[in-house]
């Protein structure tokens, strides 16, 4: 398990570097923040590609971050607080992950 998480952190870190840089350039360099509004998101989410892009970024970043937090908790807390904190972390992170996934997949432009 630790081997898998170690490998995941390295591969996801490299992927996130490109995904996050792409996101940064699209949102802050190629487009001004004054142009980014509801219509911008609607236009962007017409293409399945951008939904996939955001979904990848969300899952990789959340799992990468949650695993990092798990390692920190493991390093700095002792039982029973260690186990309890990890459970709280997983539940909170899982909820945010599901919420984000739900928004990305189910987003439909409002009629009119």
């Amino acid at each position: 398990m630790e081997l898998f998480t170690w490998l995941f952190m390295r591969y996801s870190g490299v992927l996130l570097l490109f995904l996050a840089l792409g996101h940064l350039f699209i949102m802050h360099v190629f487009n001004s923040i004054h142009q980014i509004d509801y219509d911008f998101v609607v236009r962007r989410y017409m293409a399945l590609f951008w939904r996939g892009y955001d979904l990848c970024m969300l899952w990789l970043a959340m799992i990468h971050g949650l695993n990092g937090m798990r390692i920190l908790i493991d390093d700095y807390l002792k039982p029973p607080w260690q186990g309890r904190s990890v459970k709280v972390l997983y539940v909170t992170g899982g909820l945010f992950l599901l919420l984000g996934t739900w928004v990305i997949i189910c987003f439909q432009p409002a009629a009119g």
Binding site: E2, L3, W6, L7, D75
Partner: protein, 232 residues
Amino acid sequence: MEVTFQLLRFDPLKDRQPHWETYRVELEPTDRVLDGLEAIKGQMDGTLAYRRSCAHGVCGSDAMIINGRNRLACKALVKNMKEPIRIEPMRGFKVLKDFVVDMGPFFEKYRAVKPYLIEKEARPQKERLQSQEERERFDDTTKCILCGACTTSCPSFWFNAGYVGPAAIVQAHRFIFDSRDGGAEERLSVLNNQEGVWRCRTVFNCVEACPRGINVTRAIGEVKKVIAKGGR
């Protein structure tokens, strides 16, 4: 020259907490910190306790924190030290008295990685031949003298005494990469868990602390890679 030492003294029969004591001794600039300790113990306070054996950087008995850094007292020259020279026992081990720590758990972990040749084939009639390249592969980790300076400089070990520690991983590395050895799998199974190599956070304290100049973090990284690859 007069040199000032501040020593963190602790006698479990008398003290509830460790406390600092100051000593001033006459030394030559070319003397080592160990010579200072010998002078204090021999001429001023015979109750001072520390380990030393060869006194020449080979046996690894006299590792201690000297001016905030893990070093061997027999390799640290007085002229290179800022005064007062502050000495503490190594962190993470139970202090038995002054600078004498309980090395028992350290050697338990050392034994856990099976630091001896495990034969993979029938014993040859003559010696087991090895090329220069094959020997070079693990040369760095043969230098370890088991002083414990790396393990006790590691924050992961300070907080989690269950961590096998850099020294044991270095010893495992020495055999895992030895072409004559057949016990890599047994050792890797000991190291492939949360208290094994994965507890290493690449802080590099061990590299700074090692009195033999072993690139400990690199050795740990190589063991991680071998586990990831599924074998040597």
